[in-house]
Subunit: 565 residues, 2 copies
């Protein structure tokens, strides 16, 4: 490809409002262009990376007997009514009417379509197990798109669905996909990814893993034990808590006036947060009557994913002043409220001599004992893990890191095959097959690699997914000999199936070298009057900065050694 | 691929309501499954064909310096407002609101997105010419989906956009694309396709060609001269008309009572249709005041595409009784109507002694002369070509055939670059680049090939696009020797990169042979106790029915000869 004709421009300055490295570089290096909030056009370099990512995914899906299909982007409401998700999913599912007034949706995931494809076409147990997958455009009406291709509305995704007779068979296949995913991300050139246990969210099902690329700009919090390799998404991460001190206290109401937050109350009364109990109140989404009150020790934070799983519905933080509660003074003693589900976090277990709200304006209660005064029926785990908490397996300190979710795998169970009536004949009667589903966000992989493998000069593509292998960079192309040699090298390398981006512009060396770095092409070949004095070219490896000269007649052989993946 | 695990079933009977061969076979052979009216899932065999079609297209687009990009499926209204198409395109453009109430559309074509991608990224004349293309899902809210994948709402399309400094440069590139299209369809295995001149429709622009696969179930009428190779879509086809006889007549009003249609009037007055003039009335869509009246000789039919092009707006047949016209008695003499654009077809030129309506109930006028009595300012070509009309080039009789449009190419001009403000700096100031656009319906190619290359037994895929090359068909797989030999052949052929569909089911020979024919796999290999007596297999070529025996040890060599494309 001659850069003079390449669609897209390289720009020096990061456009205003962009503060994520990969986003800035992908725009500055001419990879993507925003069409609307969260909606992008992939320009030629990005589409080349996209295609390479897809090829890797396709090969590994085929290697575990995946059958590629193509589901529709636009689907009728009926399909999503059957699974119940037409009403259970929020606004991120884009619903609209077609010209006849029929309710349609834009696919953000395709469990319904996958089961539909199998209804009546798979009938007998000897057709199982099998896996189908597609690589297709998805749309998710994301409320807050951000960070370029990392959180978008429209994206390319590989989604796969497997069907099994038994849970054992699903588990065995799940393990295969797990390994295929490790291969895929490794082949894409990612080094810092891990698989973590996760919440299965709106997909339903029980066991699920996310593949996370660790990076500081990640949206997810990942809990990791360096010792025993325990990993989990914060949403489901566990830790061991130290036992609370047994310190006797005398219950006593005190005036705390304007002190409302845990910080304010602790300051006023000179107590440690660990000797307080705070309340967080929630509404149950889709059920106006019910509310949820969660009590946790003052030094810990609520993990809403865990709480949501316990409640069994979506929840949203709510001010319960209307229900007679006193904001800032809610306490776990003598709480008077109807239709409330009350949860006590296990951090409160055995807690003595602590402070909680008095459930009246301007007062708190000191010296409360959870076992003497509150007597909850049970304690639950509804808090987040903090950096330094103890590993649930080996008790060593846990780390909390940030990650971008690049893929996920779910053991779905029969949620969809049951609701949609997919039945398989077996020698022992009919059953609903057990499903697994497996996603990889292709565009997000592109952005994650750009984020993690880039430096202060620009992108640094791994060889396997780089848009081109080689940036052929004549310096002083107005020099006849430089130009002729460069053209000859370009033709030769193309013929040898190297992918070459040829900077055929008559611009300064500075612009060319900067562009080659910004675009992140792995190997740069400089041809200049000086290198030609010795009949050489200069090679620079983008990742390491290593530079060396190679005689022109040995160039192809040298590149054979370098361009490997 | 083992057929026992292949998603999809083969069915004997054509489901009710399906009367197009390709539609029936694609469903019966397990290639596609309908999700909603005009919306399909491609099952694995169809997706394999789809991928091969895409590869051919991609290779030929790259060969003419195409740069692959990916535009969004969902686009904001603003983009389509700029070109004016948000309001000018009818209901087939699906419009909806996202969660924030923003007006969005589903892409049915991407001229706007293509220009958007170039705005500010292409600034200088030396960046031109270039061509960008994508292969992406499109949605068109089709009022009447039909014939399986031939007319659908959602489809995969290759669309390409080129940008040029001069019309000459566009024409030169247009010719390149024309040739690339011929290569593409030839490589796909199509034999009966032609390129025809066409109307540029809603795309704007002047010169356009459609690539049509000729088949009786085609939706388009194509006019063809076997002699000089003139071809054109009926919408723009021309023909030479014979001169009208000069027969003097005396103008005279006659009572024609209930006779309203041309047939009735001709019968009553015993005149030939060629000596009548009929009127067809239209409303101008989007403009309530204006109407259009088209007069043509009674034996010819209005070509609404030509008329629409003359009017410059969409038109719809309308009863103009409200405007004071007398339905069935409208004539070209003494016509009294306001705000009417009146057109006279060239078939009326020189017509003498003809019958036309008297513009009053129950009367017509005989003996009218167009030059003496009507004196139109001009005649236009607004009629269809009939089978047997004279070729506009060589005067030989024309044929009218049916075709499916599988691709199209347009010289767009500056419609989009002007309206969207794309400016290029040249040594002589700034200009709006001149565009070409080029489409291929991938799913429609699949269906067209299925339609044209199939027989009474099922599909007959050309080798280059067949989902698999070989149908490996053991007869009596319960026989240990048949099974072992088949497994060995399967492994060996896979290792040799043949694409093999292996019928590993323990079902009757009849079912297997019928399925292999229905699915249309080009080469069938039968392994049976009988063929093994001589250490042979039997090969059948699907297209020709040719059968022969090959010693097992020579099988690979023989297949190397057969599996070529």
């Amino acid at each position: 490809m001659r850069i003079s004709k390449l669609l897209g421009e390289r720009i020096k300055e990061t456009p205003a409002g962009i503060n994520i490295k990969s986003h800035a570089y992908l725009i500055r290096a001419g990879y993507i262009k925003q069409v609307s909030n969260g909606i992008y056009t992939l320009l030629p370099p990005a589409q080349r990376v996209n295609q390479k990512l897809q090829s890797i995914i396709r090969e590994e899906m085929d290697a575990i007997d995946g059958q590629e299909v193509l589901f529709p982007v636009v689907m009728p409401r009926e399909l999503w009514d059957k699974s119940g998700r037409y009403s259970s999913i929020g606004q991120e599912l884009l619903r609209f009417k077609d010209r006849t007034g029929h309710d349609m949706v834009l696919g953000m995931t395709h469990e319904e379509a996958a089961v539909h494809a199998c209804l009546s076409t798979v009938r007998s147990y000897d057709q199982l197990p099998f896996m189908i997958y597609q690589i297709q455009t998805k749309y998710r009406d994301e409320a807050r798109p951000r960070a370029g291709l990392i959180r978008v509305k429209e994206f390319t995704m590989k989604d796969a669905y497997s069907f099994h007779l038994t849970s054992d068979d699903l588990e065995e296949y799940y393990e295969k996909v797990y390994k295929a995913y490790e291969k895929i991300f490794t082949r894409m050139g990612m080094k810092d990814f891990i698989a973590v246990k996760s919440d299965s969210g709106m997909m339903g099902g029980k066991i699920a893993h996310e593949f996370q690329l660790l990076t500081d700009i990640g949206e997810d919090s990942i809990v990791i034990c360096d010792e025993c390799k325990y990993t989990a998404n914060m949403e489901v991460a566990k830790c061991q808590l130290e036992e609370n001190d047994h310190v006797f206290g005398i219950k006593k109401e005190v005036f705390t006036g304007e002190a409302k937050t845990i910080e304010e109350v602790c300051n006023l009364l000179n107590v440690d947060k660990k000797h307080t109990c705070k309340a967080v109140c929630y509404a149950v989404v889709g059920n106006e009557k019910d509310v949820v009150i969660a009590f946790v020790r003052g030094d810990r934070e609520i993990n809403e994913a865990k709480l949501k799983a316990l409640v069994g519905s979506d929840i949203a933080v709510k001010d319960l002043t209307d229900s007679g509660l006193v904001k800032g003074n809610i306490g776990c003693l003598d709480l008077k409220i109807e239709n409330a589900k009350i949860f006590y976090d296990r951090s409160l277990e055995g807690l003595e001599n602590f402070v909680t709200g008095a459930n009246k304006e301007e007062y708190h209660i000191l010296g409360v004992s959870i076992s003497r005064d509150v007597k909850p029926e049970s304690f639950v785990d509804i808090t987040k893990v903090n950096d330094g908490d103890k590993c649930p397996i080996c008790v060593k300190p846990l780390k909390v890191k940030r990650g971008i979710e690049i893929g996920n795998i779910f053991q779905l169970g029969t949620k969809y095959t049951k609701s949609m009536g997919m039945l398989i004949n077996t020698p022992n009667g009919t059953i609903n097959p057990i499903m697994g589903c497996y996603g990889i966000g292709v565009g997000r992989c592109l952005a994650s690699i750009a984020e993690q493998y880039s430096d202060e000069k620009g992108l640094v593509w791994p060889m396997a997914v780089a848009p081109w292998h080689i940036y052929l960079c004549p310096i002083r192309i107005d020099d006849e000999s430089v130009k002729n040699t460069s053209e000859r090298i370009y033709e030769k390398l193309n013929a040898e199936n190297f992918e070459v981006l040829y900077d055929d512009r008559n611009v300064s060396a500075g612009i060319k070298l900067k562009d080659s770095e910004l675009m992140g092409i792995p190997v740069r070949i400089v041809v200049s009057p000086k290198t030609l004095e010795n009949n050489e070219v200069e090679i620079t490896i983008r990742e390491t900065g290593e530079k060396f000269f190679v005689p022109i007649e040995k160039l192809s052989r040298k590149l054979d050694e370098i361009v490997v993946y």
